[in-house]
């Protein structure tokens, strides 16, 4: 009886291991009607704080290894390296350090890709499908060590000067502002 129970437990454990995470292929069509609102500052004109609205898309993208590695592929395909040089920076800012101009939250990174930013970051609204924008944003976080090592990819398809994101040290824990703004050093 005990032996049977053990077997059942082992088999159940093996079967459960088959579904490590969901791999959603068809994105939610509602994603494209973007309702996410991010604030870059804690002050706003008039009374009250700036309006922020989070749809919860973050949780679907941040912790799924599939999305992070898709983002990595798209980062190359859409030539992000043209300005950000494999994350090390070039004419655009570096992405693999822990210094953020607008904050490290995935919503803010997605907004930067979608809407563009002053001084050269173009807008990709309509050019990159919304789910892919989130995938790239998830990967950009992994570049800086903001994604746990079991989610970030631990290898590259091409030759790189640094180990895979999953093997990089995690970003240091730091106290950030309300929207994740980096504190001046």
């Amino acid at each position: 009886m005990k032996c049977l129970l053990m077997r059942v437990i082992v088999i159940a454990g093996l079967v459960a291991a088959c579904e490590r995470e969901d791999r959603p292929l068809r994105s939610d069509p509602m994603l494209n009607e973007n309702r996410e609102a991010v604030a870059l500052s804690s002050t706003a004109p008039g009374p009250g704080a700036p309006v922020e609205y989070k749809t919860g898309t973050r949780s679907e993208y941040e912790k799924i290894a599939f999305h992070v590695s898709q983002g990595k592929k798209l980062f190359t395909w859409y030539n992000c390296s043209g300005c950000h040089g494999n994350g090390g920076g070039g004419s655009g800012p570096a992405l693999m350090d822990d210094v953020w101009i607008y904050g490290s939250a995935i919503e803010i990174i997605a907004a930067s890709i979608r809407e563009g930013r002053p001084n050269g970051m173009p807008t990709f609204r309509g050019k990159i499908p919304e789910d892919q924008i989130w995938q790239i944003a998830a990967y950009v976080r992994a570049l800086g060590g903001f994604v746990s090592s079991d989610v970030a990819s631990s290898r590259h398809d091409e030759i790189y000067s640094h180990p895979g994101e999953g093997r990089l040290p995690d970003a240091p824990k730091r106290t950030t502002g309300q929207s994740g703004l980096a504190q001046p050093k």
Binding site: R26, I128, P129
Partner: protein, 337 residues
């Protein structure tokens, strides 16, 4: 009635098996000298193996049925029986040796023929991607270079050289009616030479498991008479036709302003990305998405609206299109002949 039905039911698999031997994707229906060599080898090996198997089974049967006579004294040397035993075993060893040497020689000389290189009329570079084929015709001048996808047009009766490369994982290029398999390996340049004798359309298939949609990584090899091939090549080298009616013009504008332009090339327009298949003469092809769907207006629309439903995991994303954008975009793509 029932007996007819049951007879049909038993005959059907056999019929299917026989019909599988001929057709547009079959090793047993060779259409060129290289594939003829290969199918010859297959028949010889199969025939010989069948003979050997039957012989072994026969000897086994004899050994089971016929019992050896009991000898009065097992230790006494009985010369005639011993000699017979030596002859039989020696004969079997000799026959095995001869068979192995014969087949090795046969295979060696066939391979020598298969891998003999000669000057080629057409040099094509095929790059395997998950899950489609990039087909690039090389030329001496830049204006002779032409890129298409998932289709290999070749002239009949002329030797063709195919250079093989891969961008992501290992694939394998195989048009069973025309040649043997050859792998496409990232970082390694492989080459294959073959000739197709009879004009026709032959189906090819990726023959090395390469991911989710490996089974939907097909392609077509179209063998044309020489003059028709030249005409095809000239037509394909030309840039895309400019749309001439307002609906298709609107479609072209949608193509340029949406995600399409991030991955695809249409020569003659500002779309020049090399991540996805070249679409310059998209509608002249026989299929969509690497021999997954036949080319038709309805299938183009289906593919645009739900690629992840048709070929889950494909790198073509679900692009959001407004309802009134589908019709012009499909018309535009349909006009890219």
């Amino acid at each position: 009635m029932r007996s007819v039905a049951s007879k049909l039911a038993t005959a059907l698999p056999a019929l299917l098996a026989v019909s599988g031997c001929a057709g547009w994707q079959s090793v047993l229906d060779p259409q060129g000298p290289e594939s003829k060599h290969l199918s010859g080898l297959i028949w010889i090996f199969t025939g010989l193996s069948a003979v050997i198997w039957l012989a072994v089974m026969g000897v086994l049967l004899v050994a089971i049925v016929r019992r050896a006579p009991e000898r009065p004294d097992p230790l006494a040397l009985h010369m005639p029986i011993e000699r017979r035993g030596v002859m039989i075993v020696g004969g079997a060893v000799l026959a095995t040796l001869l068979t192995v040497i014969g087949l090795t020689a046969l295979s060696y000389f066939s391979q020598r023929h298969l891998y003999a290189t000669q000057a080629s009329a057409v040099v094509v570079k095929i790059t395997g991607h998950q899950w489609w084929w990039d087909v690039r015709y090389e030329g001496d001048r830049p204006d002779q270079v032409l890129t298409t996808a998932n289709e290999l047009y070749i002239p009949a009766g002329q030797p063709i050289t195919v250079k093989l490369a891969a961008s992501d994982v290992i694939h394998s290029f195989w048009v069973p009616s025309l040649m043997g398999k050859q792998d496409l390996i990232p970082g390694q340049d492989n080459e294959l030479q073959f000739t197709a004798t009879r004009p026709g359309v032959y189906r090819g298939q990726c023959a090395e498991f390469c991911g989710w949609q490996h089974a939907h990584m097909g392609m077509f090899a179209v063998v044309l008479p020489r003059e028709q091939f030249s005409a095809w090549r000239a037509a394909q080298t030309a840039p895309a036709l400019m749309p001439d009616d307002p609906v298709r013009r609107k479609g072209a504008a949608i193509f340029q302003s949406k995600a399409c332009v991030m991955c695809h090339t249409i020569r003659g327009t500002s779309a020049g990305s090399r991540v996805g298949p070249d679409l310059t003469h998209f509608a002249s092809r026989k299929s969509i998405a690497s021999a997954t769907l036949p080319m038709s207006r309805g299938n183009i629309a289906a593919w645009l609206l739900d690629p992840q439903g048709i070929k889950p995991g494909t790198n073509m994303p679900n692009v959001s299109l407004a309802p009134d954008e589908v019709e012009p975009l499909v018309s535009y793509l349909e006009g890219l002949r």
